[in-house]
Amino acid sequence: MNVIKGFLYLLGFLLLGDVVVTLLGLPISAGVIGMLLLTGWLLVRGRMHDDIAAISQPLITLLAMLIMPGVVGVFFVLGDYSQYWLAALLALVLGTLLSVLTTLWLMSRMMPRQPKQDQADE
Protein backbone atom coordinates (compact mmCIF):
# COMPACT_ATOMS: atom_id res chain seq x y z
CA MET A 1 0.00 0.00 0.00
CA ASN A 2 2.84 2.38 0.92
CA VAL A 3 4.50 1.61 -2.41
CA ILE A 4 1.36 2.61 -4.31
CA LYS A 5 0.98 5.75 -2.22
CA GLY A 6 4.63 6.61 -2.92
CA PHE A 7 4.02 5.96 -6.64
CA LEU A 8 1.12 8.42 -6.55
CA TYR A 9 3.51 11.02 -5.10
CA LEU A 10 6.00 10.35 -7.93
CA LEU A 11 3.22 10.68 -10.53
CA GLY A 12 2.13 13.90 -8.82
CA PHE A 13 5.62 15.40 -9.05
CA LEU A 14 5.93 14.19 -12.66
CA LEU A 15 2.63 15.89 -13.59
CA LEU A 16 3.67 19.01 -11.68
CA GLY A 17 6.95 18.98 -13.63
CA ASP A 18 4.94 18.68 -16.85
CA VAL A 19 2.76 21.65 -15.83
CA VAL A 20 5.85 23.79 -15.10
CA VAL A 21 7.56 22.76 -18.36
CA THR A 22 4.42 23.44 -20.41
CA LEU A 23 3.47 26.74 -18.78
CA LEU A 24 7.02 28.17 -18.88
CA GLY A 25 7.83 26.62 -22.26
CA LEU A 26 11.06 25.13 -20.86
CA PRO A 27 13.19 22.97 -23.19
CA ILE A 28 13.69 20.45 -20.35
CA SER A 29 11.99 17.09 -19.78
CA ALA A 30 9.15 16.92 -17.24
CA GLY A 31 10.93 14.11 -15.36
CA VAL A 32 13.99 16.27 -14.59
CA ILE A 33 11.86 19.16 -13.32
CA GLY A 34 9.77 16.68 -11.32
CA MET A 35 12.98 15.30 -9.78
CA LEU A 36 14.17 18.80 -8.82
CA LEU A 37 10.74 19.65 -7.36
CA LEU A 38 10.83 16.43 -5.30
CA THR A 39 14.37 17.20 -4.04
CA GLY A 40 13.33 20.76 -3.17
CA TRP A 41 10.21 19.56 -1.37
CA LEU A 42 12.25 17.02 0.67
CA LEU A 43 14.72 19.79 1.56
CA VAL A 44 11.92 22.08 2.76
CA ARG A 45 10.46 19.15 4.66
CA GLY A 46 13.87 18.39 6.17
CA ARG A 47 13.50 14.59 6.23
CA MET A 48 12.83 11.63 3.95
CA HIS A 49 9.23 10.68 3.10
CA ASP A 50 8.81 6.96 3.87
CA ASP A 51 6.25 6.15 1.15
CA ILE A 52 8.34 7.85 -1.53
CA ALA A 53 11.51 6.07 -0.32
CA ALA A 54 9.61 2.73 -0.43
CA ILE A 55 8.83 3.10 -4.17
CA SER A 56 12.00 4.95 -5.21
CA GLN A 57 14.51 2.28 -4.18
CA PRO A 58 12.96 -0.57 -6.23
CA LEU A 59 12.22 1.77 -9.14
CA ILE A 60 15.86 2.95 -9.27
CA THR A 61 17.06 -0.68 -9.06
CA LEU A 62 14.88 -1.43 -12.10
CA LEU A 63 16.18 1.53 -14.14
CA ALA A 64 18.38 -0.77 -16.24
CA MET A 65 15.31 -2.77 -17.27
CA LEU A 66 13.29 0.33 -18.14
CA ILE A 67 16.10 1.49 -20.42
CA MET A 68 16.85 -1.87 -22.00
CA PRO A 69 14.16 -1.81 -24.77
CA GLY A 70 15.88 1.36 -26.01
CA VAL A 71 19.22 -0.43 -26.23
CA VAL A 72 17.59 -3.16 -28.35
CA GLY A 73 16.90 -0.49 -30.97
CA VAL A 74 20.63 0.12 -31.57
CA PHE A 75 21.06 -3.20 -33.33
CA PHE A 76 18.22 -2.40 -35.74
CA VAL A 77 19.30 1.15 -36.70
CA LEU A 78 23.08 0.61 -36.79
CA GLY A 79 22.99 -0.04 -40.53
CA ASP A 80 21.37 3.34 -41.24
CA TYR A 81 24.27 5.16 -39.58
CA SER A 82 27.23 2.97 -40.58
CA GLN A 83 28.76 5.78 -42.69
CA TYR A 84 29.33 7.83 -39.53
CA TRP A 85 31.44 5.23 -37.71
CA LEU A 86 34.41 7.62 -37.49
CA ALA A 87 32.30 10.36 -35.86
CA ALA A 88 30.99 7.83 -33.34
CA LEU A 89 34.46 6.48 -32.60
CA LEU A 90 35.95 9.97 -32.12
CA ALA A 91 33.07 11.30 -30.00
CA LEU A 92 32.75 8.26 -27.75
CA VAL A 93 36.35 7.03 -27.34
CA LEU A 94 38.53 10.14 -27.78
CA GLY A 95 35.82 12.48 -26.43
CA THR A 96 35.51 10.40 -23.25
CA LEU A 97 39.32 10.27 -22.88
CA LEU A 98 39.49 14.09 -23.07
CA SER A 99 36.57 14.64 -20.70
CA VAL A 100 37.96 12.18 -18.12
CA LEU A 101 41.34 13.94 -18.33
CA THR A 102 39.64 17.35 -17.89
CA THR A 103 37.62 16.15 -14.89
CA LEU A 104 40.59 14.53 -13.13
CA TRP A 105 42.75 17.62 -13.71
CA LEU A 106 40.06 20.07 -12.51
CA MET A 107 39.13 17.97 -9.49
CA SER A 108 42.70 17.36 -8.32
CA ARG A 109 43.30 21.13 -8.44
CA MET A 110 40.09 22.19 -6.68
CA MET A 111 39.37 19.43 -4.19
CA PRO A 112 40.64 20.17 -0.68
CA ARG A 113 43.19 17.60 0.50
CA GLN A 114 41.66 14.74 2.39
CA PRO A 115 42.56 14.77 6.07
CA LYS A 116 45.01 12.08 7.26
CA GLN A 117 45.86 10.69 3.88
CA ASP A 118 49.31 11.01 2.38
CA GLN A 119 49.30 11.82 -1.28
CA ALA A 120 51.98 12.54 -3.81
CA ASP A 121 51.76 16.00 -5.32
CA GLU A 122 51.47 16.23 -9.06
Binding site: G31, G70, V71, A87, L104
Partner: protein
Amino acid sequence: MSDFLASYTALIDHLTATPIAAIAITLLAFFLGNAIFQKMGRPTWCPGILIAALIVVLILILLRIDYVQYQEGARWIILLLGPATVALGVPLFQQIHHIRALWKPILFTLPLAAIMAALYAILLAWLAGAPPELLASFAPKSVTAPIAIGITEQLGGSIPILMGGLLVTGVMATLWVNLLGRWLKIEDHRILGFALGINGHAIGTVRAFEISPTAGAFASLGMGLTGVFTALFLPLVWILMGM
Protein backbone atom coordinates in the same frame (compact mmCIF):
# COMPACT_ATOMS: atom_id res chain seq x y z
CA MET B 1 5.00 -25.69 -44.74
CA SER B 2 3.72 -22.35 -46.02
CA ASP B 3 0.40 -23.14 -44.31
CA PHE B 4 2.23 -23.60 -41.05
CA LEU B 5 4.20 -20.37 -41.60
CA ALA B 6 1.01 -18.44 -42.35
CA SER B 7 -0.76 -19.65 -39.22
CA TYR B 8 2.41 -19.02 -37.19
CA THR B 9 2.60 -15.43 -38.46
CA ALA B 10 -1.09 -14.99 -37.61
CA LEU B 11 -0.44 -16.32 -34.11
CA ILE B 12 2.49 -13.93 -33.56
CA ASP B 13 0.37 -11.05 -34.87
CA HIS B 14 -2.36 -12.03 -32.43
CA LEU B 15 0.04 -12.30 -29.47
CA THR B 16 1.76 -9.00 -30.19
CA ALA B 17 -1.56 -7.16 -30.55
CA THR B 18 -1.33 -6.45 -26.80
CA PRO B 19 1.83 -5.29 -24.97
CA ILE B 20 1.85 -8.44 -22.77
CA ALA B 21 4.22 -10.44 -25.00
CA ALA B 22 6.70 -7.55 -25.34
CA ILE B 23 6.70 -6.97 -21.59
CA ALA B 24 7.22 -10.69 -20.91
CA ILE B 25 10.14 -10.84 -23.40
CA THR B 26 11.71 -7.76 -21.77
CA LEU B 27 11.40 -9.17 -18.24
CA LEU B 28 12.69 -12.60 -19.31
CA ALA B 29 15.70 -11.09 -21.09
CA PHE B 30 16.41 -8.82 -18.13
CA PHE B 31 16.55 -11.66 -15.60
CA LEU B 32 18.44 -14.00 -17.98
CA GLY B 33 20.91 -11.24 -18.87
CA ASN B 34 21.46 -10.47 -15.20
CA ALA B 35 22.11 -14.15 -14.41
CA ILE B 36 24.65 -14.44 -17.26
CA PHE B 37 26.28 -11.17 -16.14
CA GLN B 38 26.74 -12.57 -12.61
CA LYS B 39 28.10 -15.87 -14.00
CA MET B 40 30.68 -13.93 -16.06
CA GLY B 41 31.92 -12.24 -12.86
CA ARG B 42 30.31 -8.82 -13.50
CA PRO B 43 32.75 -7.64 -16.24
CA THR B 44 32.90 -3.84 -16.72
CA TRP B 45 33.56 -4.19 -20.47
CA CYS B 46 30.21 -5.93 -20.99
CA PRO B 47 27.38 -4.37 -18.92
CA GLY B 48 24.45 -6.62 -18.01
CA ILE B 49 22.05 -4.37 -19.92
CA LEU B 50 23.96 -5.14 -23.16
CA ILE B 51 23.61 -8.90 -22.58
CA ALA B 52 19.87 -8.47 -21.89
CA ALA B 53 19.42 -6.37 -25.05
CA LEU B 54 21.20 -9.02 -27.14
CA ILE B 55 18.89 -11.68 -25.67
CA VAL B 56 15.85 -9.62 -26.77
CA VAL B 57 17.34 -9.30 -30.27
CA LEU B 58 17.90 -13.06 -30.37
CA ILE B 59 14.32 -13.80 -29.21
CA LEU B 60 12.88 -11.38 -31.79
CA ILE B 61 14.88 -12.97 -34.61
CA LEU B 62 14.14 -16.57 -33.54
CA LEU B 63 10.39 -15.96 -33.09
CA ARG B 64 10.27 -13.74 -36.21
CA ILE B 65 8.76 -10.83 -34.31
CA ASP B 66 9.06 -7.46 -36.00
CA TYR B 67 11.17 -4.95 -34.04
CA VAL B 68 8.53 -2.23 -34.48
CA GLN B 69 5.87 -4.56 -33.04
CA TYR B 70 8.10 -5.26 -30.03
CA GLN B 71 8.86 -1.57 -29.51
CA GLU B 72 5.14 -0.80 -29.60
CA GLY B 73 4.55 -3.09 -26.62
CA ALA B 74 7.76 -2.15 -24.80
CA ARG B 75 6.52 1.46 -24.71
CA TRP B 76 4.58 0.47 -21.58
CA ILE B 77 7.85 -0.34 -19.82
CA ILE B 78 9.61 2.81 -21.06
CA LEU B 79 6.62 4.82 -19.78
CA LEU B 80 7.82 4.06 -16.23
CA LEU B 81 11.01 6.04 -16.92
CA GLY B 82 9.13 9.26 -16.09
CA PRO B 83 8.32 8.38 -12.45
CA ALA B 84 11.74 6.61 -12.17
CA THR B 85 13.49 9.87 -13.14
CA VAL B 86 11.51 11.72 -10.47
CA ALA B 87 12.59 9.00 -8.00
CA LEU B 88 16.24 10.00 -8.57
CA GLY B 89 15.41 13.01 -6.39
CA VAL B 90 15.57 10.67 -3.38
CA PRO B 91 19.32 9.81 -3.60
CA LEU B 92 19.98 13.43 -4.59
CA PHE B 93 18.34 14.56 -1.34
CA GLN B 94 20.23 11.90 0.65
CA GLN B 95 23.57 13.21 -0.64
CA ILE B 96 22.83 16.86 -0.10
CA HIS B 97 25.22 16.96 2.90
CA HIS B 98 28.14 16.13 0.53
CA ILE B 99 27.10 19.02 -1.69
CA ARG B 100 26.84 21.37 1.32
CA ALA B 101 30.27 20.35 2.65
CA LEU B 102 32.09 20.63 -0.70
CA TRP B 103 29.96 23.18 -2.52
CA LYS B 104 32.94 25.29 -3.55
CA PRO B 105 35.02 22.71 -5.45
CA ILE B 106 31.77 21.23 -6.84
CA LEU B 107 30.60 24.63 -8.08
CA PHE B 108 33.95 25.32 -9.76
CA THR B 109 34.53 21.93 -11.35
CA LEU B 110 31.29 20.07 -12.00
CA PRO B 111 29.57 22.48 -14.43
CA LEU B 112 32.79 22.90 -16.42
CA ALA B 113 33.47 19.14 -16.45
CA ALA B 114 29.89 18.40 -17.55
CA ILE B 115 30.01 21.07 -20.29
CA MET B 116 33.34 19.74 -21.60
CA ALA B 117 32.08 16.14 -21.60
CA ALA B 118 29.27 17.22 -23.97
CA LEU B 119 31.32 19.71 -26.03
CA TYR B 120 34.21 17.31 -26.78
CA ALA B 121 31.69 14.80 -28.15
CA ILE B 122 29.76 17.42 -30.19
CA LEU B 123 32.94 18.99 -31.59
CA LEU B 124 34.68 15.73 -32.52
CA ALA B 125 31.54 14.27 -34.12
CA TRP B 126 30.91 17.55 -35.99
CA LEU B 127 34.52 17.59 -37.30
CA ALA B 128 34.03 14.04 -38.57
CA GLY B 129 30.96 15.20 -40.53
CA ALA B 130 28.12 13.93 -38.34
CA PRO B 131 24.62 15.34 -39.13
CA PRO B 132 22.68 17.34 -36.45
CA GLU B 133 20.60 14.28 -35.56
CA LEU B 134 23.76 12.40 -34.59
CA LEU B 135 25.16 15.37 -32.65
CA ALA B 136 21.91 15.49 -30.65
CA SER B 137 22.25 11.75 -29.96
CA PHE B 138 25.87 11.98 -28.72
CA ALA B 139 25.67 15.29 -26.78
CA PRO B 140 24.19 13.77 -23.57
CA LYS B 141 26.48 10.71 -23.77
CA SER B 142 27.79 11.15 -20.20
CA VAL B 143 24.32 11.65 -18.68
CA THR B 144 22.45 8.91 -16.85
CA ALA B 145 20.04 7.22 -19.28
CA PRO B 146 16.60 8.33 -17.94
CA ILE B 147 17.67 11.99 -18.05
CA ALA B 148 19.66 11.58 -21.30
CA ILE B 149 16.60 10.15 -23.09
CA GLY B 150 14.63 13.26 -22.16
CA ILE B 151 17.45 15.52 -23.39
CA THR B 152 17.88 13.70 -26.73
CA GLU B 153 14.10 13.82 -27.31
CA GLN B 154 14.21 17.59 -26.74
CA LEU B 155 17.17 18.04 -29.12
CA GLY B 156 15.73 15.81 -31.84
CA GLY B 157 18.24 12.96 -31.71
CA SER B 158 17.84 9.20 -32.12
CA ILE B 159 17.15 7.32 -28.87
CA PRO B 160 18.63 3.98 -30.08
CA ILE B 161 21.87 5.73 -31.13
CA LEU B 162 21.96 7.56 -27.79
CA MET B 163 21.61 4.24 -25.95
CA GLY B 164 24.50 2.73 -27.90
CA GLY B 165 26.57 5.85 -27.22
CA LEU B 166 25.78 5.68 -23.50
CA LEU B 167 26.96 2.06 -23.27
CA VAL B 168 30.25 2.73 -25.08
CA THR B 169 30.84 5.93 -23.08
CA GLY B 170 30.24 4.17 -19.75
CA VAL B 171 32.70 1.40 -20.58
CA MET B 172 35.31 3.85 -21.97
CA ALA B 173 35.00 6.20 -18.95
CA THR B 174 35.66 3.28 -16.60
CA LEU B 175 38.73 2.30 -18.62
CA TRP B 176 40.14 5.85 -18.91
CA VAL B 177 39.60 6.77 -15.24
CA ASN B 178 41.46 3.59 -14.35
CA LEU B 179 44.42 4.29 -16.67
CA LEU B 180 44.65 8.09 -16.31
CA GLY B 181 44.07 7.96 -12.55
CA ARG B 182 47.08 5.70 -12.20
CA TRP B 183 49.13 7.81 -14.63
CA LEU B 184 48.31 11.06 -12.76
CA LYS B 185 48.86 9.27 -9.42
CA ILE B 186 45.40 10.25 -8.13
CA GLU B 187 44.55 8.19 -5.07
CA ASP B 188 41.76 10.35 -3.62
CA HIS B 189 38.66 8.16 -3.87
CA ARG B 190 36.43 11.23 -3.91
CA ILE B 191 38.09 12.46 -7.13
CA LEU B 192 38.11 9.02 -8.79
CA GLY B 193 34.44 8.53 -7.86
CA PHE B 194 33.48 11.98 -9.11
CA ALA B 195 35.27 11.40 -12.44
CA LEU B 196 33.53 8.03 -12.86
CA GLY B 197 30.08 9.47 -12.15
CA ILE B 198 30.47 12.63 -14.23
CA ASN B 199 31.82 10.85 -17.32
CA GLY B 200 30.55 7.31 -17.01
CA HIS B 201 27.01 7.74 -15.56
CA ALA B 202 25.54 4.51 -14.08
CA ILE B 203 28.21 2.20 -15.53
CA GLY B 204 30.98 4.34 -13.98
CA THR B 205 29.06 4.55 -10.70
CA VAL B 206 28.85 0.76 -10.46
CA ARG B 207 32.64 0.62 -10.93
CA ALA B 208 33.13 3.34 -8.27
CA PHE B 209 31.21 1.29 -5.69
CA GLU B 210 33.73 -1.51 -6.36
CA ILE B 211 36.61 0.86 -5.47
CA SER B 212 35.08 1.98 -2.15
CA PRO B 213 31.79 3.25 -0.66
CA THR B 214 33.24 6.80 -0.65
CA ALA B 215 34.03 6.60 -4.36
CA GLY B 216 30.51 5.23 -4.93
CA ALA B 217 28.82 8.04 -3.02
CA PHE B 218 30.76 10.68 -4.97
CA ALA B 219 30.07 8.89 -8.25
CA SER B 220 26.30 8.93 -7.58
CA LEU B 221 26.59 12.58 -6.66
CA GLY B 222 28.63 13.38 -9.80
CA MET B 223 26.19 11.40 -11.96
CA GLY B 224 23.11 13.11 -10.50
CA LEU B 225 24.49 16.64 -10.72
CA THR B 226 25.86 16.09 -14.25
CA GLY B 227 22.45 14.84 -15.33
CA VAL B 228 20.59 17.81 -13.86
CA PHE B 229 23.11 20.38 -15.07
CA THR B 230 23.36 18.94 -18.61
CA ALA B 231 19.55 18.76 -18.87
CA LEU B 232 19.45 22.49 -18.09
CA PHE B 233 22.33 23.72 -20.29
CA LEU B 234 22.26 21.53 -23.44
CA PRO B 235 18.84 22.73 -24.68
CA LEU B 236 20.13 26.30 -24.28
CA VAL B 237 23.27 25.45 -26.29
CA TRP B 238 21.01 24.05 -29.03
CA ILE B 239 18.91 27.24 -29.09
CA LEU B 240 22.09 29.37 -29.24
CA MET B 241 23.51 27.27 -32.10
CA GLY B 242 20.21 27.66 -33.92
CA MET B 243 19.67 23.93 -34.39
